[in-house]
Point group: C2
Chain length 140, copies 2
C-alpha cells in the first residue's frame, strides 16, 4: 500500500470525508517527503492536475484540517515562508545564516530535551519539525 493510500484509509477510519481536493493535496505532500508552502502545492497541482484547479482558500483549509488531525506539521522557515509536511519521518533543519545551507537534523537530538522539559516544567513539548538557525561548519 502506498503512503497516500495509508493516509486516506486512516482518514476514512476516523470518519473524515475524502474529497478530490483533499486527495490531491495529500498526494502532493507525499512526494519526496516534501516541505511545501501553499504556493509550492499550487504549482505542483497545476502541473500534475491541471484539470482540477484548487483555490488557495481550499488549500489553506485542507492544511488546517490535516494539522488539527496531526497528519501534518507547520513550520515557519523565515524568508522561505511557512511550510507544511507530513508527520511521517520526523526530522528537523539546521539552517546556516551565512551561506543558507540546510542540514537535516535527526530527531534523536531532541529526546533529552523533551524529557528535560517534561521533568522541569511538566510540559509535554511537541517538537515535530523545527527550523533552527546558526552557522554551519564551513562558515565558522
Amino acid at each position: 500500500m502506498t503512503e497516500l493510500d495509508s493516509i486516506l484509509d486512516r482518514l476514512k477510519a476516523k470518519g473524515e470525508r475524502v474529497t478530490i481536493q483533499r486527495r490531491i493535496v495529500i498526494e502532493s505532500l507525499c512526494k519526496d517527503n516534501a516541505h511545501l508552502t501553499v504556493n509550492d502545492i499550487q504549482r505542483y497541482l497545476q502541473h500534475e492536475f491541471p484539470e482540477q484547479p484548487l483555490s488557495d482558500t481550499t488549500v489553506y483549509r485542507i492544511l488546517q484540517w490535516l494539522k488539527d488531525l496531526e497528519f501534518v506539521s507547520q513550520t515557519d522557515m523565515g524568508t522561505m515562508g511557512t511550510v507544511y509536511q507530513l508527520l511521517q519521518h520526523r526530522h528537523h533543519h539546521l539552517i546556516c545564516l551565512t551561506c543558507g545551507a540546510e542540514i537535516e537534523m535527526d530527531d534523536d537530538c531532541l529526546v533529552e530535551l523533551r524529557q528535560l522539559i517534561h521533568d522541569k516544567y511538566g510540559f509535554k513539548v511537541r517538537l515535530d519539525h523545527l527550523a533552527l538557525y546558526g552557522q554551519c561548519h564551513d562558515c565558522l
Copy 2:
C-alpha cells in the same frame, strides 16, 4: 548607566547613526525586558512619545537593523504574531496548545542541545528565543 545608554553607546562605537526614531524604539524594547510586536511598539510609543509618531515603515526598518546587528531577536509566536526583543536575558517560551498558557523556559535547558548539535553536525546553532508548543501540566 542604564541599559538604554549602554546599547546606544555600543551602537555609536560601531559607527552606527542614532536618530530620535531609533532611540525611542530601543527605549521601548528596554521596558520590562519586553517581547513586542510592531503594533505593541507603536502603541507604546503613542503613549510615551505622542509628539513623535513613527511610521510602521520606520519601525520595521529599525528592527531589521537591530536584528542584523544582533541586538534583538525575532520570534514567530504563531497567532500572537511576530515579536522582537533585546538579546539580553536569554530565555524561551513553552506555549500550551490547549489553554494558551505561556511558561517561561530557562536557557539552561538548551545547553546540552547546543553542544550535541555542535558535536554531531559541526553546527553552531543560535537559539536566542524559542517558542515551543505542546501541552501544559494542567491540560495533560
